[in-house]
Symmetry: C2
Subunit: 144 residues, 2 copies
DNA sequence: CTTTTGGGTAACATATTTGGTTACATTACA
DNA sequence: TGTAATGTAACCAAATATGTTACCCAAAAG
């Protein structure tokens, strides 16, 4: 195993909401689809609400719904909402500054990691929740 | 903090070996530059030796040296040597297959994660240990 | 051939992260 | 007012990461 399941579960959650097409859905119902505890779902949704991807409706007859059209939500939006900025351990990485390598490597690593992250995020930005929704419905339009 | 320090430390280690320019270096010396325990370094180097990036010399007067020219070693080589294949938690992700979303989301996620990973790896492949070495020496040739 | 030096690796301790769970306050609708 | 939902804190257990000690083995030096 590598990494946590937050991003995977979050995409699942938003895909579920897209599938429900605007209707409100409770955390319990989503949790049943994800096979986990409603609190786990609400924790993730809390972050997604803060990032304005989802709207929470409190009180009886409450639930969650998408804050915007699936075509306007990319996987990158979701990723950024639920994942901390990755640093590849750079904050725990404290080399010996007396060493010519140790004193200069950190900046080099930061640059390299930033480029790698950018490359990944560009790919995430290329897929929208609408794309996911299309695939979910098994609809295959003629082209692509 | 996010992620482990294996990749960052490994790049540091190989940069150190490149800096030593072919000479053998002990795990103790490298550990001093990284500010950690020699065993930690040897554990990482063990993976790098298995991936043929480094040669280990046992016995007295032993040590480690690069297995090939820095220009032939990319950050992607290092990344693959020391990091497990990331799966974004997909092996722990077991949605409810009775649900139309849960039953189909996994394949969609796999595709998305693969694209993201590919985007990141392309960037890592674009930087070689020779590039890192250049930056370390502070050498700035006229063009980029 | 014995000593010395250094890699290889198992074993263990500790800290952190993650995900699940319970509990409970708050909100809003009927 | 009662009910059903979110919001969130608190806690636990499992997994992970890193440091550390210990000990084996290999190879050069003498």
């Amino acid at each position: 195993m590598t990494g946590n399941t937050r991003f995977a579960v979050s995409v699942h959650v938003l895909a579920y909401l897209a599938f429900k097409d605007g209707g409100q859905t409770t955390s319990a119902e989503i949790a049943s689809s994800v096979n986990t505890n409603p609190v786990v779902i609400r924790r993730l949704l809390s972050a997604l609400v803060k990032s304005r991807l989802v709207i929470a409706h409190k009180g009886a007859a409450g639930g969650f719904s998408l804050a915007s059209a699936p075509a306007k939500i990319t996987l990158l939006d979701i990723y950024r909402a639920v994942e901390p900025q990755p640093d590849h351990g750079l904050d725990r990485f404290v080399p010996n500054t007396k060493c010519p390598v140790g004193s200069r490597i950190e900046t080099i690593l930061r640059t390299a990691f930033f480029k790698a992250q950018t490359g990944m995020e560009a790919q995430l930005a290329a897929t929208s929740l609408a794309d996911v929704h299309q695939q979910l419905k098994g609809v295959c339009t003629a082209k692509k």
